[in-house]
Subunit: 480 residues, 2 copies
């Protein structure tokens, strides 16, 4: 929470207008205008007479006299030994223009987005903040890294990522092919801009990741949907009948359907792309968390083994393995695309925050990231099991879990009973944030007869899962 502090007023652009009035009168007018226009805040502390006379090159007497006149007329008040403040008891006709007052946003609403079953949020309470702070602290005291940095990201972080991605995801690359981005979101935008022109076609999973849909809308990309079927995953037959410039996929844990593409299917998709000279944008957002089997090798890595990785862009994020507010992501692109992507990033936002990049590189090199991931893999596995158990217990087979044991969410499906949107609203009244599956079908195409719900369990405490699922089941079965 911001502390209650008296705002100190900067002299800013205060200046005396040209006129025949005395300097004192012109100073009085200038300050009075600042106050009546609401530019100097109520209760704000004015500059001292000494400072103001220095800055405006006026005599101290002139300033003191103008201040006294302002006090006399009720615009400012003098507090003994402390200085001058904008009066908080301005007569009504002096009150600042109301345009300066804020339409304040409901704070409670904002906090909601990370609570209960909100998808895509990791367990924030578990993150080793003290350790992270220590790494941040080391680099926050280095004046040498305060300046402009490499647009592509620091060499240190890119180098550490090359090793991390090779050992954990078999991604084949070098530092020159890694680009640090402002969250995976910026990587999605850069990838799309780099390979697709206006009105060219991108294939999207359906249902799919809404934040990718927003990118295609912004850039006027023509999109065609490939169905993701419950428990089966991306419809490859449908894909193989389609031609397009590129496809966006979440192969390790399809978002939101929670299906995975195995090695054989990955190879089919790589072959399709190779045959059609299409690009693959591989979003590997939470592949670190697989509970039932070892994760499959990334499509980038697989394609690399076959020498077919010239048309694959691999995208990852630290939002799930660390925390969302870090806003750090990365992309691995083929050599041919490096320059184009750097040019785009330079225009979009320039370089990335330096201290965070340096701290992150050390955090990974020091083994902290892997330690945290291992710990969280165990915890999320337990949470996932608790979700499945609670659903079995409280829903007595009214709903089916259709997502694989992996990632940070569980996807439910049911045919008869309450409508998904009604359930979402009822849950919200009980303080449970859930997403109906329709959220991931932004065009509202009506091909689905069943209902679906996405429940994130990342940031729900293990101990709260059973109660929350019970509440959700009560909403489900509540009489109209």
């Amino acid at each position: 929470m911001p502390r209650l502090t008296i705002p100190h007023i900067d002299i800013g652009d205060l200046h005396l207008s040209e006129s025949e009035l005395t300097l004192q009168q012109r100073l009085f007018n200038a300050i009075r205008d600042k106050i009546t226009h609401g530019l100097w805040p109520l209760a704000g502390k004015l500059p001292s007479t000494r400072k103001l006379s220095d800055e405006l090159k006026l005599s101290r007497n002139t300033v003191t006299a103008a201040y006294e006149q302002l006090v006399y007329e009720g615009y400012i008040e003098s507090r003994k030994g402390s200085g001058f403040y904008v009066s908080i008891e301005l007569p009504e006709h002096y009150l600042p223009d109301m345009r300066c007052h804020s339409k304040e946003i409901n704070h409670a609403e904002q906090e909601d987005i990370n609570r209960s079953f909100a998808p895509g949020v990791p367990d924030l309470a578990q993150f080793p903040l003290k350790k992270w702070q220590r790494y941040l602290q080391i680099h926050a005291s280095r004046p040498s890294i305060l300046g402009n940095g490499d647009v592509q990201g620091t060499l240190e972080l890119r180098s550490v990522l090359v090793n991390y991605l090779a050992s954990s995801r078999s991604v084949v690359c070098n530092t020159h092919r890694v680009i640090i981005t402002s969250g995976a979101q910026q990587a999605l935008t850069i990838a799309t801009m780099a390979i697709l022109n206006n009105n060219e076609t991108l294939l999207l999973e359906y249902p799919g990741y809404t934040q990718m849909d927003k990118v295609t809308n912004l850039l006027n990309i023509n999109k065609v949907h490939i169905d993701v079927e419950p428990l089966k995953g991306l419809n490859l037959e449908q894909l193989e009948k389609t031609q397009a410039k590129a496809i966006y996929v979440t192969p390790s844990n399809q978002y939101p359907m929670g299906t995975t593409i195995n090695t054989e299917q990955r190879l089919r998709m790589i072959n399709w792309a190779s045959k059609n000279k299409s690009w693959i944008i591989e979003d590997d957002y939470d592949s670190e968390f697989q509970f039932a089997h070892r994760p499959y090798t990334s499509m980038q890595g697989l394609a690399g083994q076959l020498g077919l990785d010239q048309n694959i862009i691999y995208i990852g994020s630290f939002s799930k393995v660390m925390f969302n507010g870090l806003r750090m992501g990365y992309m691995v692109v083929p050599e041919s695309l490096v320059e184009r992507c750097n040019t785009i990033k330079d225009a979009l936002s320039g370089d990335s925050p330096s201290h965070v990049q340096h701290a992150l590189a050390d955090f990974i090199t020091g083994g902290e990231l892997l330690r945290h991931i291992r710990k969280m893999r165990r915890l999320y596995k337990a949470k996932h099991q608790a979700m499945v158990d609670a659903i079995e217990q409280h829903f007595s087979q009214q709903v089916e879990v259709i997502s694989q044991p992996g990632g940070l969410h569980v996807t439910l499906r049911w045919d008869d009973g309450i409508d998904e949107e009604t359930l979402r609203q009822r849950a919200q009244q009980q303080d449970l944030i859930v997403r109906s599956l329709a959220y991931y079908q932004p065009d509202g195409r009506k091909t689905r007869v069943w209902n679906g719900l996405v429940l994130g369990f990342g940031n729900t405490p293990l101990s709260a899962i059973n109660t929350n699922i019970m509440t959700l089941a009560q909403c489900f079965n509540q009489e109209q």
Copy 2:
């Protein structure tokens, strides 16, 4: 500098292929492949046998036997009491695929971009890092702000900015109209995307800010140049004969020509925009540093007083008043544009880093920012004077300073003598980074017969200015 640390290898996607071989042999093959493909780094530490047997659900004996075989064949080595490491003496034919090795970037080159006369860099050594760290520390320990945040920026920071911009720049707004961005660069992109379509026309100052030119190139915006004349500034007659959807201007301190637009000229531009229903993008990047007069009221503030601010976007940055590596900027937009800009930001990069925003809000509320600005205004004023004095002393009237006393750079002009590009190259050989004026004329239009050079003095120590200018003068007068 990154410390020399042994990379710990994550098990990652390691898995045993289906085959008729024994488990031990399949594990041996899987690890050998990781090493020969260069996915597990030389000298990297392997997971312990206990951990690997847990994760892969193999017996400890199987893992130990596979490790022993790997040691025997020279892929890994055992260090007593410490564990197993990828061997650094692999036979040549086992060496990792060279694609994994980095095309390393010259580090010295990277550091250069903030040195000597590099423009746009503030005095990094003067920034109160200890204080900043303290604010950062307070918020870096709050798990509650680790999640997803408001795309527009935290309410706390926006609220503090409303007051800061009102008192220092007479900007009229409320929190709902402020958007926090990833540096001013992202604000430029969002502004351009929000108001201009493909092939619509944006007027740019010429010479002008190269980073804005990159935005127009990326977005295929049609650009028309309005000349900025030495000592006079933007050619308003030329502007008034032109129609366009928008104009981008740096009215307080034109970059790079260092001219300023006075209140009368600002009003003319506001009237032109109002008459033509054109947008003004006002980039107020270093208005805090004016040494000869009080800064003029921002165009946004002036237009607001006349009720004509519906078509003005005000953009600012913390790169100059704090440091570049912070990557924080902001924009103030009319009510009508808020939703559109938030939608664009959401697609481009999502929300902004939370800790930094909270720390920044407190840093400003606590008065630290204004204190730092006041201190730096005095220092930059002294540096500017030292620049002018040294130029007079060493160039004996061969060059003219054409920029106003303000900001962080000095712009030189000369008619006869060395070509600006030759001078830039010679200076670089002497370790002086300067920019020739041609850098700011990316289309290379050949209307200028004189030579120009831009010298940033922000990050040059006061004590080094005279020597550096002397060196530059020697380059200037050096025989071919």
